[in-house]
Assembly symmetry: D2
Protein backbone atom coordinates (compact mmCIF):
# COMPACT_ATOMS: atom_id res chain seq x y z
CA UNK A 1 0.00 0.00 0.00
CA UNK A 2 1.33 3.41 -1.03
CA UNK A 3 0.93 6.06 1.69
CA UNK A 4 2.02 9.66 1.14
CA UNK A 5 3.82 11.74 3.73
CA UNK A 6 3.43 15.43 2.97
CA UNK A 7 4.37 18.55 4.86
CA UNK A 8 7.21 20.96 5.54
CA UNK A 9 8.98 22.74 8.35
CA UNK A 10 12.26 21.97 10.14
CA UNK A 11 10.46 21.65 13.45
CA UNK A 12 8.55 18.66 12.09
CA UNK A 13 11.51 16.56 11.00
CA UNK A 14 11.53 14.25 14.02
CA UNK A 15 7.83 13.53 13.76
CA UNK A 16 8.03 13.00 10.00
CA UNK A 17 10.88 10.54 10.45
CA UNK A 18 8.85 8.61 13.00
CA UNK A 19 5.85 8.54 10.64
CA UNK A 20 8.10 7.19 7.89
CA UNK A 21 9.60 4.60 10.20
CA UNK A 22 6.21 3.33 11.33
CA UNK A 23 4.93 3.15 7.74
CA UNK A 24 8.04 1.19 6.77
CA UNK A 25 7.49 -1.20 9.65
CA UNK A 26 3.93 -1.77 8.51
CA UNK A 27 5.13 -2.68 5.02
CA UNK A 28 3.84 0.44 3.34
CA UNK A 29 5.56 2.16 0.43
CA UNK A 30 6.20 5.77 1.44
CA UNK A 31 5.39 8.26 -1.32
CA UNK A 32 6.65 11.83 -0.95
CA UNK A 33 7.80 14.86 -2.88
CA UNK A 34 11.37 13.56 -2.87
CA UNK A 35 13.11 16.74 -1.72
CA UNK A 36 14.24 17.96 1.74
CA UNK A 37 12.97 18.50 5.30
CA UNK A 38 9.77 16.56 6.01
CA UNK A 39 10.03 14.68 2.70
CA UNK A 40 13.60 13.61 3.43
CA UNK A 41 12.86 12.74 7.06
CA UNK A 42 9.91 10.56 6.12
CA UNK A 43 11.99 8.71 3.54
CA UNK A 44 14.89 8.27 5.96
CA UNK A 45 12.53 6.90 8.56
CA UNK A 46 11.03 4.44 6.11
CA UNK A 47 14.47 3.22 5.05
CA UNK A 48 15.53 2.79 8.70
CA UNK A 49 12.73 0.25 9.02
CA UNK A 50 13.59 -1.53 5.79
CA UNK A 51 10.78 0.15 3.89
CA UNK A 52 10.58 1.37 0.31
CA UNK A 53 10.32 4.99 -0.84
CA UNK A 54 9.13 6.80 -3.96
CA UNK A 55 10.01 10.44 -4.59
CA UNK A 56 7.80 12.39 -6.98
CA UNK A 57 9.90 15.38 -7.97
CA UNK A 58 8.93 18.74 -9.45
CA UNK A 59 11.95 19.04 -11.73
CA UNK A 60 13.33 17.29 -14.78
CA UNK A 61 16.07 15.25 -13.14
CA UNK A 62 15.94 12.20 -10.85
CA UNK A 63 19.16 13.50 -9.29
CA UNK A 64 17.21 16.10 -7.32
CA UNK A 65 15.94 13.37 -5.02
CA UNK A 66 17.16 13.10 -1.44
CA UNK A 67 19.42 10.10 -0.72
CA UNK A 68 16.66 8.06 0.94
CA UNK A 69 14.55 7.77 -2.17
CA UNK A 70 14.55 4.36 -3.85
CA UNK A 71 12.48 5.16 -6.93
CA UNK A 72 12.59 8.63 -8.42
CA UNK A 73 9.94 10.06 -10.70
CA UNK A 74 10.87 13.42 -12.17
CA UNK A 75 7.59 14.86 -13.38
CA UNK A 76 9.02 18.00 -15.00
CA UNK A 77 5.78 19.80 -14.17
CA UNK A 78 6.78 21.92 -11.16
CA UNK A 79 4.19 22.37 -8.46
CA UNK A 80 1.77 20.22 -10.48
CA UNK A 81 3.70 17.28 -9.06
CA UNK A 82 1.66 17.88 -5.89
CA UNK A 83 -1.28 16.42 -7.80
CA UNK A 84 0.78 13.31 -8.58
CA UNK A 85 1.74 12.87 -4.92
CA UNK A 86 -1.92 12.99 -3.92
CA UNK A 87 -3.08 10.73 -6.75
CA UNK A 88 -0.42 8.11 -6.08
CA UNK A 89 -1.39 7.32 -2.49
CA UNK A 90 -4.19 5.46 -0.74
CA UNK A 91 -4.03 7.95 2.15
CA UNK A 92 -1.80 10.86 3.16
CA UNK A 93 -0.27 11.91 6.46
CA UNK A 94 0.41 15.66 6.69
CA UNK A 95 3.19 16.67 9.06
CA UNK A 96 3.36 20.42 9.53
CA UNK A 97 3.22 22.18 6.19
CA UNK A 98 2.11 25.40 4.59
CA UNK A 99 0.80 26.31 1.14
CA UNK A 100 2.40 23.42 -0.74
CA UNK A 101 0.97 20.95 1.73
CA UNK A 102 -2.38 22.66 1.49
CA UNK A 103 -2.40 22.08 -2.28
CA UNK A 104 -1.64 18.40 -1.67
CA UNK A 105 -4.40 18.07 0.94
CA UNK A 106 -6.81 19.76 -1.47
CA UNK A 107 -5.90 17.41 -4.31
CA UNK A 108 -6.09 14.38 -2.02
CA UNK A 109 -9.62 15.36 -1.03
CA UNK A 110 -10.68 16.10 -4.62
CA UNK A 111 -9.54 12.57 -5.45
CA UNK A 112 -11.17 11.00 -2.40
CA UNK A 113 -7.98 10.13 -0.53
CA UNK A 114 -8.23 10.42 3.27
CA UNK A 115 -5.80 12.79 4.97
CA UNK A 116 -4.53 12.56 8.54
CA UNK A 117 -3.02 15.75 9.96
CA UNK A 118 -0.36 15.56 12.64
CA UNK A 119 -0.01 18.81 14.56
CA UNK A 120 -1.82 22.01 13.65
CA UNK A 121 -1.41 21.23 9.94
CA UNK A 122 -1.73 23.53 6.96
CA UNK A 123 -5.23 24.69 7.92
CA UNK A 124 -7.46 22.68 5.64
CA UNK A 125 -10.46 21.25 7.38
CA UNK A 126 -13.39 19.32 6.01
CA UNK A 127 -14.78 15.88 5.40
CA UNK A 128 -12.03 13.33 5.03
CA UNK A 129 -9.43 15.30 6.97
CA UNK A 130 -8.75 13.78 10.39
CA UNK A 131 -6.36 14.83 13.14
CA UNK A 132 -3.91 12.75 15.14
CA UNK A 133 -1.84 13.59 18.21
CA UNK A 134 1.16 11.31 17.65
CA UNK A 135 2.96 9.65 14.72
CA UNK A 136 1.69 6.25 15.86
CA UNK A 137 -1.88 7.48 15.95
CA UNK A 138 -1.50 9.18 12.56
CA UNK A 139 -0.15 6.06 10.89
CA UNK A 140 -2.80 3.80 12.41
CA UNK A 141 -5.57 6.17 11.39
CA UNK A 142 -4.22 6.59 7.85
CA UNK A 143 -4.04 2.82 7.36
CA UNK A 144 -7.53 2.32 8.78
CA UNK A 145 -8.96 5.01 6.52
CA UNK A 146 -7.11 3.68 3.46
CA UNK A 147 -8.49 0.20 4.04
CA UNK A 148 -12.05 1.44 4.48
CA UNK A 149 -12.01 3.16 1.06
Amino acid sequence: MQIAVIGSGEEWIAQAEEVGRLLGERGCVVVCGGLGEVMEAAARGAKSAGGTTIGILPGESPNEANPWIDYRVATGTGHARNLAVAASCEAAVAVGGKWGTLAEVAFARILGRPVVVLGPGPGAEGEGVEHAATPAEAVQLALDLAERR
Copy 2:
Protein backbone atom coordinates in the same frame (compact mmCIF):
# COMPACT_ATOMS: atom_id res chain seq x y z
CA MET B 1 -4.25 43.24 -15.92
CA GLN B 2 -5.28 39.60 -15.62
CA ILE B 3 -7.30 38.87 -12.45
CA ALA B 4 -8.51 35.36 -11.63
CA VAL B 5 -11.94 34.59 -10.26
CA ILE B 6 -11.95 31.21 -8.55
CA GLY B 7 -14.53 29.37 -6.47
CA SER B 8 -17.55 27.14 -6.71
CA GLY B 9 -21.06 26.72 -5.36
CA GLU B 10 -24.44 27.60 -6.85
CA GLU B 11 -25.20 29.94 -3.99
CA TRP B 12 -22.28 32.14 -5.04
CA ILE B 13 -23.30 32.69 -8.65
CA ALA B 14 -24.77 36.16 -8.14
CA GLN B 15 -21.74 37.40 -6.26
CA ALA B 16 -19.35 35.87 -8.80
CA GLU B 17 -21.20 37.55 -11.64
CA GLU B 18 -20.94 40.89 -9.87
CA VAL B 19 -17.21 40.37 -9.30
CA GLY B 20 -16.79 39.61 -13.00
CA ARG B 21 -18.85 42.64 -13.99
CA LEU B 22 -16.81 44.98 -11.81
CA LEU B 23 -13.52 43.56 -13.10
CA GLY B 24 -14.76 44.04 -16.67
CA GLU B 25 -15.73 47.63 -15.93
CA ARG B 26 -12.26 48.27 -14.56
CA GLY B 27 -10.67 46.99 -17.77
CA CYS B 28 -9.31 43.78 -16.29
CA VAL B 29 -9.07 40.50 -18.16
CA VAL B 30 -10.95 37.87 -16.15
CA VAL B 31 -9.10 34.55 -15.90
CA CYS B 32 -11.02 31.52 -14.67
CA GLY B 33 -11.25 27.75 -14.96
CA GLY B 34 -13.59 28.08 -17.93
CA LEU B 35 -16.29 25.67 -16.77
CA GLY B 36 -19.62 26.21 -14.92
CA GLU B 37 -21.11 27.84 -11.83
CA VAL B 38 -18.80 30.50 -10.36
CA MET B 39 -16.46 30.31 -13.35
CA GLU B 40 -19.32 30.82 -15.78
CA ALA B 41 -20.94 33.55 -13.71
CA ALA B 42 -17.70 35.51 -13.44
CA ALA B 43 -17.17 35.28 -17.20
CA ARG B 44 -20.77 36.29 -17.93
CA GLY B 45 -20.42 39.26 -15.63
CA ALA B 46 -17.22 40.36 -17.31
CA LYS B 47 -18.81 40.11 -20.75
CA SER B 48 -21.85 42.11 -19.59
CA ALA B 49 -19.46 44.97 -18.89
CA GLY B 50 -17.63 44.62 -22.20
CA GLY B 51 -14.68 42.83 -20.61
CA THR B 52 -12.50 40.02 -21.88
CA THR B 53 -12.33 36.48 -20.50
CA ILE B 54 -9.83 33.63 -20.56
CA GLY B 55 -10.83 30.08 -19.63
CA ILE B 56 -8.08 27.69 -18.55
CA LEU B 57 -9.61 24.26 -18.93
CA PRO B 58 -8.67 20.90 -17.42
CA GLY B 59 -9.48 18.86 -20.50
CA GLU B 60 -8.15 18.44 -24.01
CA SER B 61 -10.79 20.41 -25.91
CA PRO B 62 -11.52 24.15 -26.10
CA ASN B 63 -15.17 23.18 -26.63
CA GLU B 64 -15.57 22.46 -22.91
CA ALA B 65 -15.54 26.18 -22.20
CA ASN B 66 -18.68 27.98 -21.10
CA PRO B 67 -20.18 30.36 -23.69
CA TRP B 68 -18.79 33.51 -22.02
CA ILE B 69 -15.16 32.58 -22.56
CA ASP B 70 -13.35 34.57 -25.26
CA TYR B 71 -10.02 32.75 -25.25
CA ARG B 72 -9.85 29.07 -24.39
CA VAL B 73 -6.76 27.28 -23.22
CA ALA B 74 -7.20 23.51 -22.94
CA THR B 75 -4.32 22.40 -20.76
CA GLY B 76 -4.99 18.65 -20.99
CA THR B 77 -3.53 18.27 -17.48
CA GLY B 78 -6.66 17.84 -15.37
CA HIS B 79 -6.59 19.41 -11.93
CA ALA B 80 -3.07 20.67 -12.62
CA ARG B 81 -4.79 23.41 -14.56
CA ASN B 82 -5.46 24.99 -11.15
CA LEU B 83 -1.76 25.84 -11.08
CA ALA B 84 -2.10 27.59 -14.44
CA VAL B 85 -5.07 29.63 -13.24
CA ALA B 86 -3.06 30.82 -10.23
CA ALA B 87 0.10 31.49 -12.25
CA SER B 88 -1.74 33.46 -14.93
CA CYS B 89 -3.17 36.16 -12.67
CA GLU B 90 -1.86 39.20 -10.84
CA ALA B 91 -4.36 38.60 -8.03
CA ALA B 92 -7.26 36.22 -7.40
CA VAL B 93 -10.74 36.71 -5.99
CA ALA B 94 -12.18 33.57 -4.37
CA VAL B 95 -15.98 33.36 -4.31
CA GLY B 96 -17.20 30.43 -2.24
CA GLY B 97 -15.31 27.30 -3.15
CA LYS B 98 -14.15 24.03 -1.67
CA TRP B 99 -11.14 21.78 -2.32
CA GLY B 100 -10.48 22.88 -5.89
CA THR B 101 -10.52 26.50 -4.84
CA LEU B 102 -8.27 25.66 -1.92
CA ALA B 103 -5.71 24.21 -4.33
CA GLU B 104 -5.86 27.42 -6.36
CA VAL B 105 -5.46 29.62 -3.28
CA ALA B 106 -2.49 27.50 -2.21
CA PHE B 107 -0.83 27.79 -5.62
CA ALA B 108 -1.53 31.53 -5.75
CA ARG B 109 0.23 31.99 -2.42
CA ILE B 110 3.16 29.74 -3.38
CA LEU B 111 3.60 32.01 -6.39
CA GLY B 112 3.16 35.23 -4.41
CA ARG B 113 -0.20 36.23 -5.88
CA PRO B 114 -2.53 37.99 -3.43
CA VAL B 115 -5.91 36.39 -2.81
CA VAL B 116 -9.11 38.14 -1.72
CA VAL B 117 -11.79 35.90 -0.28
CA LEU B 118 -15.45 36.87 -0.57
CA GLY B 119 -17.62 35.08 1.95
CA PRO B 120 -16.39 32.35 4.26
CA GLY B 121 -14.13 31.01 1.50
CA PRO B 122 -12.47 27.62 1.20
CA GLY B 123 -10.79 27.87 4.59
CA ALA B 124 -7.23 28.86 3.71
CA GLU B 125 -5.87 31.58 5.91
CA GLY B 126 -2.41 33.12 6.04
CA GLU B 127 -0.26 35.95 4.83
CA GLY B 128 -1.49 37.28 1.53
CA VAL B 129 -5.08 36.10 1.96
CA GLU B 130 -7.45 38.98 2.67
CA HIS B 131 -11.20 39.03 3.21
CA ALA B 132 -13.86 41.25 1.69
CA ALA B 133 -17.52 41.69 2.52
CA THR B 134 -18.88 42.66 -0.90
CA PRO B 135 -17.96 42.14 -4.57
CA ALA B 136 -17.03 45.82 -4.84
CA GLU B 137 -14.73 45.61 -1.86
CA ALA B 138 -13.19 42.38 -3.14
CA VAL B 139 -12.44 43.83 -6.57
CA GLN B 140 -11.00 47.05 -5.16
CA LEU B 141 -8.81 45.13 -2.72
CA ALA B 142 -7.61 42.69 -5.39
CA LEU B 143 -6.63 45.53 -7.71
CA ASP B 144 -4.88 47.41 -4.91
CA LEU B 145 -2.93 44.32 -3.89
CA ALA B 146 -2.04 43.47 -7.49
CA GLU B 147 -0.68 46.96 -8.07
CA ARG B 148 1.38 46.93 -4.90
CA ARG B 149 3.23 43.72 -5.96
Copy 3:
Protein backbone atom coordinates in the same frame (compact mmCIF):
# COMPACT_ATOMS: atom_id res chain seq x y z
CA MET C 1 -10.81 30.12 -34.57
CA GLN C 2 -7.67 29.43 -32.57
CA ILE C 3 -4.72 28.30 -34.74
CA ALA C 4 -1.35 27.41 -33.23
CA VAL C 5 1.95 28.41 -34.73
CA ILE C 6 4.72 26.16 -33.46
CA GLY C 7 8.37 25.82 -34.38
CA SER C 8 11.81 27.22 -33.70
CA GLY C 9 14.93 28.41 -35.47
CA GLU C 10 16.18 31.90 -36.29
CA GLU C 11 16.16 31.12 -39.98
CA TRP C 12 12.38 30.67 -39.84
CA ILE C 13 11.49 34.03 -38.32
CA ALA C 14 10.43 35.70 -41.55
CA GLN C 15 8.20 32.83 -42.56
CA ALA C 16 6.68 32.57 -39.07
CA GLU C 17 5.90 36.29 -39.10
CA GLU C 18 4.17 35.92 -42.44
CA VAL C 19 2.16 32.96 -41.17
CA GLY C 20 1.09 35.03 -38.16
CA ARG C 21 0.21 38.01 -40.35
CA LEU C 22 -1.95 35.91 -42.66
CA LEU C 23 -3.72 34.25 -39.73
CA GLY C 24 -4.39 37.67 -38.22
CA GLU C 25 -5.80 38.90 -41.54
CA ARG C 26 -8.11 35.92 -41.65
CA GLY C 27 -9.47 36.73 -38.20
CA CYS C 28 -7.84 33.81 -36.44
CA VAL C 29 -6.52 33.93 -32.89
CA VAL C 30 -2.86 32.91 -32.96
CA VAL C 31 -1.90 30.50 -30.17
CA CYS C 32 1.78 29.93 -29.49
CA GLY C 33 4.28 29.11 -26.77
CA GLY C 34 4.65 32.79 -25.92
CA LEU C 35 8.46 32.95 -25.91
CA GLY C 36 11.02 33.98 -28.58
CA GLU C 37 12.04 33.29 -32.16
CA VAL C 38 9.25 31.61 -34.17
CA MET C 39 6.75 32.14 -31.34
CA GLU C 40 7.54 35.83 -31.14
CA ALA C 41 7.60 36.29 -34.92
CA ALA C 42 4.21 34.64 -35.34
CA ALA C 43 2.71 36.84 -32.63
CA ARG C 44 4.28 39.99 -34.10
CA GLY C 45 2.91 39.09 -37.51
CA ALA C 46 -0.57 38.55 -36.12
CA LYS C 47 -0.49 41.90 -34.31
CA SER C 48 0.69 43.68 -37.48
CA ALA C 49 -2.55 42.55 -39.09
CA GLY C 50 -4.71 43.56 -36.14
CA GLY C 51 -5.01 40.00 -34.90
CA THR C 52 -5.14 38.59 -31.39
CA THR C 53 -2.51 36.40 -29.72
CA ILE C 54 -2.40 33.94 -26.83
CA GLY C 55 0.89 32.82 -25.31
CA ILE C 56 0.93 29.54 -23.38
CA LEU C 57 4.06 29.73 -21.28
CA PRO C 58 6.09 27.00 -19.56
CA GLY C 59 6.92 29.04 -16.47
CA GLU C 60 5.07 30.50 -13.52
CA SER C 61 4.95 34.14 -14.60
CA PRO C 62 2.98 35.91 -17.34
CA ASN C 63 5.91 38.33 -17.59
CA GLU C 64 7.93 35.77 -19.55
CA ALA C 65 5.75 36.42 -22.58
CA ASN C 66 7.11 38.24 -25.61
CA PRO C 67 5.72 41.77 -26.15
CA TRP C 68 3.31 40.69 -28.92
CA ILE C 69 1.23 38.45 -26.70
CA ASP C 70 -2.20 39.79 -25.75
CA TYR C 71 -3.30 37.06 -23.34
CA ARG C 72 -0.75 35.21 -21.28
CA VAL C 73 -1.31 31.82 -19.69
CA ALA C 74 1.52 30.73 -17.41
CA THR C 75 1.02 27.00 -17.01
CA GLY C 76 3.80 26.41 -14.49
CA THR C 77 4.25 22.92 -15.93
CA GLY C 78 7.41 23.32 -18.03
CA HIS C 79 7.52 21.37 -21.27
CA ALA C 80 4.06 19.98 -20.51
CA ARG C 81 2.80 23.30 -21.80
CA ASN C 82 3.41 21.85 -25.26
CA LEU C 83 0.36 19.68 -24.63
CA ALA C 84 -1.69 22.80 -23.85
CA VAL C 85 -0.56 24.51 -27.06
CA ALA C 86 -1.67 21.49 -29.08
CA ALA C 87 -4.95 21.07 -27.20
CA SER C 88 -5.89 24.74 -27.51
CA CYS C 89 -5.88 24.93 -31.31
CA GLU C 90 -8.11 23.76 -34.13
CA ALA C 91 -5.04 23.24 -36.32
CA ALA C 92 -1.31 23.92 -36.06
CA VAL C 93 1.22 25.33 -38.48
CA ALA C 94 4.78 24.16 -37.81
CA VAL C 95 7.53 26.49 -39.01
CA GLY C 96 10.96 24.91 -38.69
CA GLY C 97 11.39 23.35 -35.30
CA LYS C 98 13.21 20.54 -33.54
CA TRP C 99 12.40 18.34 -30.55
CA GLY C 100 10.00 20.75 -28.83
CA THR C 101 8.05 21.17 -32.03
CA LEU C 102 8.06 17.44 -32.51
CA ALA C 103 6.41 17.01 -29.11
CA GLU C 104 3.75 19.53 -30.11
CA VAL C 105 3.12 17.82 -33.44
CA ALA C 106 2.83 14.49 -31.63
CA PHE C 107 0.33 15.89 -29.12
CA ALA C 108 -1.64 17.61 -31.87
CA ARG C 109 -1.99 14.29 -33.68
CA ILE C 110 -2.87 12.36 -30.52
CA LEU C 111 -5.68 14.89 -30.05
CA GLY C 112 -6.77 14.80 -33.69
CA ARG C 113 -5.63 18.29 -34.62
CA PRO C 114 -4.34 18.65 -38.19
CA VAL C 115 -0.78 19.90 -38.61
CA VAL C 116 0.64 21.74 -41.60
CA VAL C 117 4.42 21.77 -41.89
CA LEU C 118 6.19 24.64 -43.64
CA GLY C 119 9.69 23.72 -44.72
CA PRO C 120 11.40 20.46 -43.84
CA GLY C 121 9.79 20.49 -40.39
CA PRO C 122 10.72 18.56 -37.28
CA GLY C 123 10.58 15.21 -39.02
CA ALA C 124 7.21 13.83 -37.94
CA GLU C 125 5.27 12.26 -40.74
CA GLY C 126 1.97 10.45 -40.71
CA GLU C 127 -1.75 10.79 -41.18
CA GLY C 128 -2.90 14.31 -40.44
CA VAL C 129 0.47 15.94 -41.12
CA GLU C 130 0.49 17.89 -44.40
CA HIS C 131 3.20 19.94 -46.05
CA ALA C 132 3.06 23.41 -47.56
CA ALA C 133 5.57 25.32 -49.65
CA THR C 134 4.69 28.90 -48.63
CA PRO C 135 3.14 30.69 -45.65
CA ALA C 136 0.04 31.45 -47.71
CA GLU C 137 -0.37 27.82 -48.67
CA ALA C 138 0.22 26.71 -45.07
CA VAL C 139 -2.40 29.07 -43.67
CA GLN C 140 -4.97 28.16 -46.31
CA LEU C 141 -4.40 24.45 -45.76
CA ALA C 142 -4.56 24.77 -41.96
CA LEU C 143 -7.86 26.65 -42.14
CA ASP C 144 -9.31 24.16 -44.62
CA LEU C 145 -8.30 21.22 -42.44
CA ALA C 146 -9.59 22.89 -39.28
CA GLU C 147 -12.96 23.50 -40.89
CA ARG C 148 -13.26 19.96 -42.15
CA ARG C 149 -12.83 18.51 -38.62
Copy 4:
Protein backbone atom coordinates in the same frame (compact mmCIF):
# COMPACT_ATOMS: atom_id res chain seq x y z
CA MET D 1 19.64 2.75 -13.01
CA GLN D 2 16.18 3.66 -14.29
CA ILE D 3 15.66 2.85 -17.99
CA ALA D 4 12.40 3.65 -19.77
CA VAL D 5 10.73 1.35 -22.23
CA ILE D 6 8.35 3.28 -24.46
CA GLY D 7 6.33 2.34 -27.51
CA SER D 8 3.08 0.77 -28.62
CA GLY D 9 1.69 -1.77 -31.03
CA GLU D 10 0.56 -5.37 -30.51
CA GLU D 11 3.13 -6.63 -33.00
CA TRP D 12 5.91 -5.38 -30.70
CA ILE D 13 4.87 -7.20 -27.54
CA ALA D 14 7.38 -10.03 -27.82
CA GLN D 15 10.28 -7.66 -28.43
CA ALA D 16 9.19 -5.35 -25.61
CA GLU D 17 8.99 -8.27 -23.22
CA GLU D 18 12.51 -9.33 -24.18
CA VAL D 19 13.78 -5.78 -23.67
CA GLY D 20 12.18 -5.74 -20.23
CA ARG D 21 13.63 -9.14 -19.37
CA LEU D 22 17.13 -8.11 -20.34
CA LEU D 23 16.89 -4.86 -18.40
CA GLY D 24 15.69 -6.78 -15.35
CA GLU D 25 18.61 -9.21 -15.69
CA ARG D 26 21.01 -6.31 -15.79
CA GLY D 27 19.59 -4.91 -12.54
CA CYS D 28 17.87 -1.93 -14.11
CA VAL D 29 14.59 -0.48 -12.90
CA VAL D 30 12.17 -0.46 -15.82
CA VAL D 31 10.17 2.76 -16.10
CA CYS D 32 7.14 2.82 -18.39
CA GLY D 33 3.74 4.37 -18.89
CA GLY D 34 2.13 1.66 -16.76
CA LEU D 35 -0.70 0.71 -19.12
CA GLY D 36 -1.08 -2.04 -21.75
CA GLU D 37 0.65 -3.54 -24.79
CA VAL D 38 4.33 -2.58 -24.99
CA MET D 39 4.23 -1.04 -21.50
CA GLU D 40 2.75 -4.17 -20.00
CA ALA D 41 5.05 -6.50 -21.94
CA ALA D 42 8.16 -4.63 -20.84
CA ALA D 43 7.03 -4.74 -17.21
CA ARG D 44 6.18 -8.44 -17.43
CA GLY D 45 9.57 -9.16 -18.93
CA ALA D 46 11.33 -7.25 -16.18
CA LYS D 47 9.41 -9.11 -13.48
CA SER D 48 10.20 -12.48 -15.13
CA ALA D 49 13.87 -11.69 -14.52
CA GLY D 50 13.32 -10.55 -10.95
CA GLY D 51 13.51 -6.88 -11.87
CA THR D 52 11.63 -3.88 -10.55
CA THR D 53 9.08 -1.77 -12.43
CA ILE D 54 7.66 1.73 -12.13
CA GLY D 55 4.48 2.75 -13.97
CA ILE D 56 3.91 6.45 -14.58
CA LEU D 57 0.22 6.71 -15.32
CA PRO D 58 -1.80 9.42 -17.06
CA GLY D 59 -4.83 9.16 -14.80
CA GLU D 60 -5.70 9.84 -11.19
CA SER D 61 -5.69 6.29 -9.85
CA PRO D 62 -2.85 3.82 -9.22
CA ASN D 63 -5.35 1.08 -10.01
CA GLU D 64 -5.01 1.78 -13.73
CA ALA D 65 -1.61 0.13 -13.71
CA ASN D 66 -1.03 -3.23 -15.35
CA PRO D 67 -0.41 -6.14 -12.95
CA TRP D 68 3.38 -6.16 -13.53
CA ILE D 69 3.93 -2.71 -12.08
CA ASP D 70 5.56 -2.62 -8.64
CA TYR D 71 5.40 1.13 -7.97
CA ARG D 72 2.59 3.19 -9.40
CA VAL D 73 2.69 6.93 -9.88
CA ALA D 74 -0.63 8.40 -10.98
CA THR D 75 0.27 11.82 -12.35
CA GLY D 76 -3.27 13.02 -13.02
CA THR D 77 -1.94 15.08 -15.92
CA GLY D 78 -2.98 13.00 -18.92
CA HIS D 79 -0.55 12.93 -21.83
CA ALA D 80 1.79 15.21 -19.88
CA ARG D 81 2.84 12.04 -18.10
CA ASN D 82 4.94 11.36 -21.20
CA LEU D 83 7.23 14.14 -19.98
CA ALA D 84 7.56 12.38 -16.62
CA VAL D 85 8.45 9.07 -18.28
CA ALA D 86 11.22 10.77 -20.26
CA ALA D 87 12.49 12.79 -17.29
CA SER D 88 12.59 9.78 -14.98
CA CYS D 89 15.00 7.67 -17.02
CA GLU D 90 18.70 7.66 -17.79
CA ALA D 91 17.99 6.32 -21.28
CA ALA D 92 14.94 5.09 -23.19
CA VAL D 93 14.34 2.13 -25.47
CA ALA D 94 11.55 2.70 -27.99
CA VAL D 95 9.80 -0.42 -29.25
CA GLY D 96 7.41 0.31 -32.08
CA GLY D 97 5.24 3.27 -31.24
CA LYS D 98 3.37 6.11 -32.87
CA TRP D 99 2.50 9.65 -31.77
CA GLY D 100 2.63 9.04 -28.03
CA THR D 101 6.04 7.44 -28.36
CA LEU D 102 7.14 10.32 -30.55
CA ALA D 103 6.24 12.77 -27.79
CA GLU D 104 8.31 10.72 -25.34
CA VAL D 105 11.29 10.56 -27.70
CA ALA D 106 11.03 14.33 -28.20
CA PHE D 107 10.94 14.99 -24.45
CA ALA D 108 13.82 12.56 -23.84
CA ARG D 109 15.94 14.45 -26.35
CA ILE D 110 14.94 17.89 -24.98
CA LEU D 111 16.16 16.61 -21.61
CA GLY D 112 19.34 15.05 -23.01
CA ARG D 113 18.35 11.42 -22.47
CA PRO D 114 19.64 9.03 -25.14
CA VAL D 115 17.04 7.01 -27.03
CA VAL D 116 17.54 3.64 -28.70
CA VAL D 117 14.93 2.67 -31.28
CA LEU D 118 14.17 -0.98 -31.94
CA GLY D 119 12.49 -1.51 -35.30
CA PRO D 120 11.35 1.28 -37.56
CA GLY D 121 10.30 3.35 -34.54
CA PRO D 122 8.00 6.36 -34.40
CA GLY D 123 9.95 8.29 -37.01
CA ALA D 124 12.00 10.70 -34.94
CA GLU D 125 15.58 10.97 -36.07
CA GLY D 126 18.36 13.21 -34.85
CA GLU D 127 21.32 13.47 -32.55
CA GLY D 128 20.95 11.17 -29.58
CA VAL D 129 18.58 8.74 -31.29
CA GLU D 130 20.28 5.45 -32.16
CA HIS D 131 18.92 2.32 -33.79
CA ALA D 132 19.27 -1.31 -32.77
CA ALA D 133 18.37 -4.51 -34.59
CA THR D 134 17.60 -6.78 -31.60
CA PRO D 135 16.42 -6.40 -27.99
CA ALA D 136 19.88 -7.43 -26.77
CA GLU D 137 21.56 -4.81 -28.92
CA ALA D 138 19.04 -2.18 -27.84
CA VAL D 139 19.55 -2.86 -24.14
CA GLN D 140 23.33 -2.91 -24.44
CA LEU D 141 23.35 0.33 -26.40
CA ALA D 142 20.95 2.05 -23.99
CA LEU D 143 23.08 1.11 -21.00
CA ASP D 144 26.28 2.21 -22.74
CA LEU D 145 24.74 5.56 -23.67
CA ALA D 146 23.29 6.07 -20.20
CA GLU D 147 26.67 5.47 -18.62
CA ARG D 148 28.45 7.85 -20.97
CA ARG D 149 26.15 10.77 -20.00
